[in-house]
Amino acid sequence: MPSIFGYWTLRGLGQASRFILEYTGEEYQDVRFDAINAKEKWQEEKTKNPHGLEFPNLPFYVDGDIKLTQSAAILHHLAKKHGLAGANTEEEWRRLDLLEGVLGDVRMTFAWLCYGCRDEASFSAQRPVMRERVTPVIKQLSASLGSKQWLLGDKISYVDFLLYDVLSNWLELEKDLLDELPNLQQFRARFEALPAIKAYMQSERFIKWPLSGPDAFFGGK
């Protein structure tokens, strides 16, 4: 039986998992909830809770007896299931944990900016502040990748899916973000050239937009 992945019809916290599901060829049902026109559909499902989730929320993932919420918990599960969690060494675990945390911060900075601003004036004021906050971290990520293919080295792991997704969000807003960081540009091209990812991104299953929910000032509409 295919697994079930449930999320809003947008990229947001679900996209990295969708990329992994596509990359690994896992047979899954991509259940989407419309955040703009039919938000109540999720509210109803949340109340009824047909899958018996302990913390009903989006995204969720159901695979037989395994019922998960929390995007990072879903990623960990998919990574373990498909061998995308490194080589089981202390050093790699440490690196995965660290990068996951850092990429979470980069995503949060983007979310604060997009969801925290109510109007053009506050958005214009906050945008350079957040750009200044995220720029050094993007440089650290570039240094951390170095000349490697993927963040852990030769083998792709779940944090690469997070990195690609987080960079994509930021690039929609700050087009020149990677101008002086060619290794991150190459990383993006490498990711997009993975055959399963390429096919997915060309298909109608792939959501280009919106990045965020309708409450966001940027990326939501």
């Binding site: 929390q70 918990a73 599960h77 202390e90 440490r94 944990d97 660290l98 971290v137 951390s144």
Partner: protein, 216 residues
């Protein structure tokens, strides 16, 4: 080992509790930011780039040559050393869920504490957090610890968050017998008990000086 953070409980308190519980020898290095209105952070910014860290940030943990940042990565690092990440697949999945669920809980809480409109927002928060805490109570059920039979890193995080919420409104936790017992069970762990009775233990502040709640 050296743990470095601001002179507050904040993100470091669960790490401090974990280091004490596991009996790791550590130095608890604390940075202090300046007074209002500037909250000068130069004591940290002056050394930030000089450390051997790929992503310099607070808290950080130095263990010999190994430098770790990101609070959850630090918790997992110590947790792996002492087998506190769950002993069965079921427990490990529960650790994953709880680690992130607790982070959501914390983010909402910190947003409130640091919000200039704290007084206006408090009532709404109290209302919504009741449901959040009820879900944690249900998730714990009649288990000893959040993952199951075995103590794991997420118990340290949850203890701290529940304890902070008791300072906002003690009835939030008192409404749930199993959470009350969980907290008591945690406080009775020998090394935790000794730590809490010592002068190393920090009762406050919870947050940095610019916060509207927990800054004292």
């Amino acid at each position: 080992m050296e743990l470095a953070y601001w002179n507050i409980r904040g993100l470091a308190q669960p790490i401090r509790l974990l280091l004490e519980y596991t009996g790791e020898k550590y130095e608890d290095k604390k940075f202090e930011c300046g007074p209002a209105p500037d909250y000068d952070k130069s004591c940290w910014f002056d050394i930030k780039e000089k450390l051997k860290l790929d992503f310099p940030n607070l808290p950080y943990l130095m263990d010999g040559d190994v430098g770790v940042t990101q609070s959850n990565a630090i918790m997992r690092y110590i947790g792996r050393k002492h087998d506190l990440l769950g002993k069965t697949e079921q427990e490990r999945v529960r650790v994953d869920i709880m680690e992130n669920q607790a982070m959501d809980f914390r983010n909402g809480w910190v947003r409130l504490c640091y919000n200039p409109n704290f007084d206006d927002m408090k009532e709404g928060y109290l209302k919504s957090v009741k449901d959040v805490i009820a879900k944690f109570s249900k998730f714990l059920g009649d288990r000893q610890w959040f993952a199951g039979e075995n103590l794991t890193v997420v118990d340290f995080v949850m203890y701290e968050l529940l304890d902070q919420h008791k300072l906002l409104d003690a009835t939030l936790v008192e409404a749930h017998d199993n959470l009350t017992k969980f907290m008591k069970r945690f406080e009775e762990l020998e090394p935790i008990k000794a730590y809490m009775a010592s002068d190393r233990f920090m009762k406050g502040p919870l947050n940095n000086k610019m916060a509207k709640f927990g800054a004292e």
